[in-house]
Structure formats: C-alpha cells, structure tokens
C-alpha cells in the first residue's frame, strides 16, 4: 500500500530557480548550533574549513558574507569549460585527473574580477538571511544529493527537467527535440492528464521556447493564472513554474523585479516568489493536502559547493555525446557525470519536519538530478511509459519523503509577505 501522502496526491508543482549552489544557499545550516550540538546534523552543508586557492595560491575559506545583490555583479562562469575548471581545479584534460572542487576562485578570476572580488565566489548565506528557504528546508524535506544534470549552463539543464535529456547539448544554443522523446507536458496531455508551464509574465516569458511555445501554446500560462488556478481549484495535475527573469515596468507604472535569483538579481525577491508560490498552495486546504511542491535550482551558477558530482550508471545512458568542438574543453562529453549540487526542497504536509534525504555522504544515499522530474511525474501519473531515455527511466523518485501522516494545519507555516 502506498503511504497516504502518495495515495492522496493529485498535483505536483515544480518551481525552478536560477544559478545558486547548495552550499551557497543552505550550507550554513550545518553550522547552526543548539545546546552545543548541530541543530541540523543530517544536512550535508559546510564545516567552515572548505577553501579554494586564489590566483596568488592563497587558500580562501568559505565565508558567511553573501550579499543579496551587488556581490556577484560579474556573472560567474557556468558554461561547460568553466564548470569543468571548478570541478577539476585545472584546465588540464589529461587522463587520471581527479575532481577536487578546487577551481571556483580560479574560474571566477576569469570573469574580469579583481583578486578580492574573485574570493566572493566562496560566500554563503547565513540561514537568517534566507528566512523562506531556511524555513522550508527545515520544515519539509531537503535533498542532500540533488545535482544539476550537466556540468554546464541553464538551457541544457532545464531541458532535462522538461524532456529528461538535452538531446546531446551542453551549451545555451537552440536545440531541437528528437523523436520519439516528447516533453513531460505533452506526455501528460496525451495520457489524459493536465499540465502547464507557468511563466512569470510576457515581458519575462519562458526559457522553453522554440519547441513548446511555438507548437503547444495551450500548455502555457502566466504566474497570475497560477495563483488564480490555486484559488479556484483548477490547478493542473502537473505544473512547472518559471520565475521572472528580468526587471521591467509593471502594470499601472509599477516595477516588476526579477525573482529568479540569477546573479546579479536580488536574492530577496526570489525568496518572496518562493513564499508567494508556497502560500498559494498552503492557503487552500484542499490543494495543500493533495499537492507536493518541489523547489529546485537549475544549476549552481558557478558558485562554490563542496560535494564532488557523482558519475552516472553506465548501464542507463543518455545515449548522447557532445563532441569535442561543442564542449569548449577540446574533449567530448559522454553525459556520464552530473553537474554541481543545487538546493532542492520537497514540500508537503505529509513530510515530517526536518526530513533530509541523504546523498553522496551516505553509502545508502540517493542521487537526484533534473531527469528525476519528468521521471517521477511520468511514473506517478502515467505508469509505464517507454519513449524516454534509459537515464530518465532509471532516475530516482523524488516523492519518497511523503509518508502516511498528515501534519495538523497548525503545525505548518504560512509566510507573511
């Protein structure tokens, strides 16, 4: 018998934010003490001793001095060659190289930063700076082992969330869907279910462009429609929410702030988006008890994390190769290892407070990546479904933290915006 949390589940909501690593946003939780002991011992965050060499060879430790804005105004490198340097500590592609997570400052130094500015890639937020993410991470389920799908940038990582693959791409260029793979939205609709991508507004639009917006405009909606659908009990079975990607004037002369948390957009506005999205579900009791919401980041944005990304099981390949002239490193990439760790939190009243899903720090830990999103949603709503990669079919189920026990209403937080 499945647990009640799964049995009662009718909606899955995914909110995918931008470009922040696990340690940068949640790593500080490991340093919070209570009565002489770690308050959150299960979270695989920072010890405070983690360090990277700068361009002078000086070892620079992680620091609790992350700023909401104005610190990473030179956008850190998160393209494939830059992430390769971050993971392996050098650009040397020779055999036997080992991942050591020592190249973050060297990588940031390539972005026109001064020596001091390059150190800011090691900055992390203290939990009190991020009240929304901290509250959700400690109240619901945090994944210690959720990684971006590729050690590369946004577009190809988001493709894994929509298709379970990036069709062999590791860069930001336009790609075309290859038969027989279709997006999770098309699978859901073909299977008699409902699904939508809610982009913030027309001025921000969507990152899922040519393939879906052109051919399937009916699966799109705006963020204001999302909140209306929550209130009106018309939320689709599966929906994916995109934040606002740019600052622009709002209706009636107002201002709409970017809420994606991509550097150098203000991180606090992203907190408000997460809170507002959570509230939209939380304040409708029927929806709250039948919905699981995943908050996840597309990639680490070039920012430090201490966990070496794992390799993938070669028995369940993506069956693609990015040729050497496409990776920027001079070496082909076989989609056999993941990108850097990102924050991932699953929210549901069926999740016990303080749940942590172990990752690579635990021999029995579980590895998650963005192919788990279409993988889990497909398995849950459609059951056996064949036209997808072996990698997606073998991906882990992110709904495992749901239990039999429904937390009482007065045991679950609401945000006051």
């Amino acid at each position: 018998m499945p647990p009640a949390g799964l049995d009662n589940l009718k909606h899955i909501v995914v909110l995918m934010m931008e470009n922040r690593s696990f340690d940068h946003m949640l790593g500080g939780l490991s340093l919070v003490m209570a009565n002489g002991k770690k308050q959150y011992p299960k979270i695989n965050g920072l010890t405070g001793s983690e360090a990277n060499p700068d361009m002078n060879g000086t070892m620079v430790k992680v620091q609790p001095n992350a700023k909401f804005q104005g610190q990473l105004d030179h956008d850190p490198d998160h393209h494939f060659p830059g992430v390769d340097l971050q993971i392996f500590g050098s650009t040397d592609q020779g055999p036997g190289r080992m991942a050591n997570m020592q190249g973050f400052i060297k990588s940031y130094a390539t972005q026109d930063t001064s020596i001091d500015e390059s150190h800011s890639i090691m900055a992390y937020f203290t939990p009190d700076q991020l009240p929304v993410l901290t509250r959700l991470a400690t109240e619901y389920a945090t994944f210690n082992g959720w990684f971006s799908s590729i050690p590369g940038p946004t577009i190809c990582n988001r493709a894994f969330a929509h298709y379970g693959t990036s069709f062999g791409n590791v860069d930001m260029n336009l790609f075309y869907v290859q038969d027989p793979i279709v997006s999770i939205y098309e699978r859901m609709i073909q299977g008699g279910h409902t699904a939508k991508i809610y982009y913030y507004d027309q001025q921000s639009s969507t990152m899922e462009i040519v393939n879906l917006l052109k051919n399937q405009p009916k699966i799109f909606g705006s963020y204001s429609q999302f909140t209306a659908d929550c209130e009106g009990n018309t939320l689709p079975d599966y929906c994916f929410i995109e934040p606002c990607y740019n600052d622009h004037p709002g209706p009636g002369g107002g201002q709409i702030l970017a809420s994606d948390q991509h550097p150098d957009h203000n991180v606090q506005e992203g907190e408000r988006l997460i809170a507002n999205t959570y509230n939209a579900i939380r304040t409708n009791q029927e929806l709250w008890e039948t919905t699981a919401m995943l908050i996840v980041y597309d990639e680490h944005g070039g920012i430090y994390d201490h966990v070496v990304p794992p390799s993938l099981d070669p028995n369940f390949p993506d069956a693609k190769t990015a040729p050497a002239d496409k990776t920027g490193t001079g070496v082909a990439f076989n989609f056999d290892r993941l990108g850097i760790r990102v924050p991932a939190i699953l929210v549901s009243p069926y999740i016990p407070r303080g749940t942590v899903v172990p990752g690579t720090e635990d021999p029995n830990g579980l590895i998650f990546e963005h192919a788990c999103i279409p993988g889990t949603v497909t398995n849950f709503f459609l059951g056996n479904y064949d036209n997808r990669t072996a990698r997606e079919k073998n991906s882990k189920n992110f709904l495992t933290p749901l239990t039999d026990t429904l937390r009482p209403d007065d045991d679950c937080w609401v945000f006051d915006l």
Partner: protein, 110 residues
C-alpha cells in the same frame, strides 16, 4: 481576509526598491533567450517585415519589450487577466503564535 487563522507565520522582508534596475545589462542567459526568440521570429515574419537585430538589445528593459512582443504573438492569453479574481489576503496571526523575526524559533511539540 483569510477564511482561516494560521498559528505559525513567518515574516518575509520586503526587497528594497533600490534592487530595481531595468537599465541593467542583460546576462548571457537573457542574451540566449533573445537569440532563441529571434530564430522563432524568422518563421513568423510576414512579407515586408524586418527581422529584429537582437544584438542591439543591451538592457533588461529593452529585452522585456522584445520578449513581450514575441510572446504575445504566440501566447496572447498570457497578457490577459487571470480567469479568477485574486483577493489580497492578509495573514491573520493567532496571538502567541507569530514568529518574531530571525531570533524566534517557536516549535510546536508533536
């Protein structure tokens, strides 16, 4: 007004107005978003229309105007008011249950 009261309420700070800068130069993410839409625009051009030169788009404001125009062509519903009216909800706190900023860590005993 909420139909229900909530016991556990977390305040969320407002983002300072100084965070807004629509003159900010676009990131490489938005650059690529524009290029993707530009490819799409090629297939939507009518006779006599000129393709937008997106290399001239430098700021977030400029990008937002182009994205709005293109998105409205493909998804005009995105510019409409949502079908259901959203009422602004005030969070009502039960006395003694409010989280008072960063130092309050009230936990309910299970």
């Amino acid at each position: 007004m909420l139909k229900r009261e909530f016991k556990l309420v977390q305040k969320v700070p407002r983002t300072p107005k100084s965070a807004y800068d629509h003159g900010r130069f676009i990131s490489s993410l938005i650059e690529h978003q524009l290029k993707h839409f530009n490819e799409l625009e090629k297939s939507l051009l009518k006779a006599g229309e000129k393709l937008t030169d997106v290399s001239k788009i430098k700021t977030e404001l400029q990008a937002s105007k182009y994205l709005k125009r293109m998105t409205a062509l493909l998804h005009p519903q995105g510019g409409e008011k949502p079908k259901k009216t959203i009422r602004r909800k005030r969070i009502r706190r039960v006395p003694g249950g409010e989280a008072k900023g960063k130092t309050a860590r009230r936990r309910r005993k299970s």
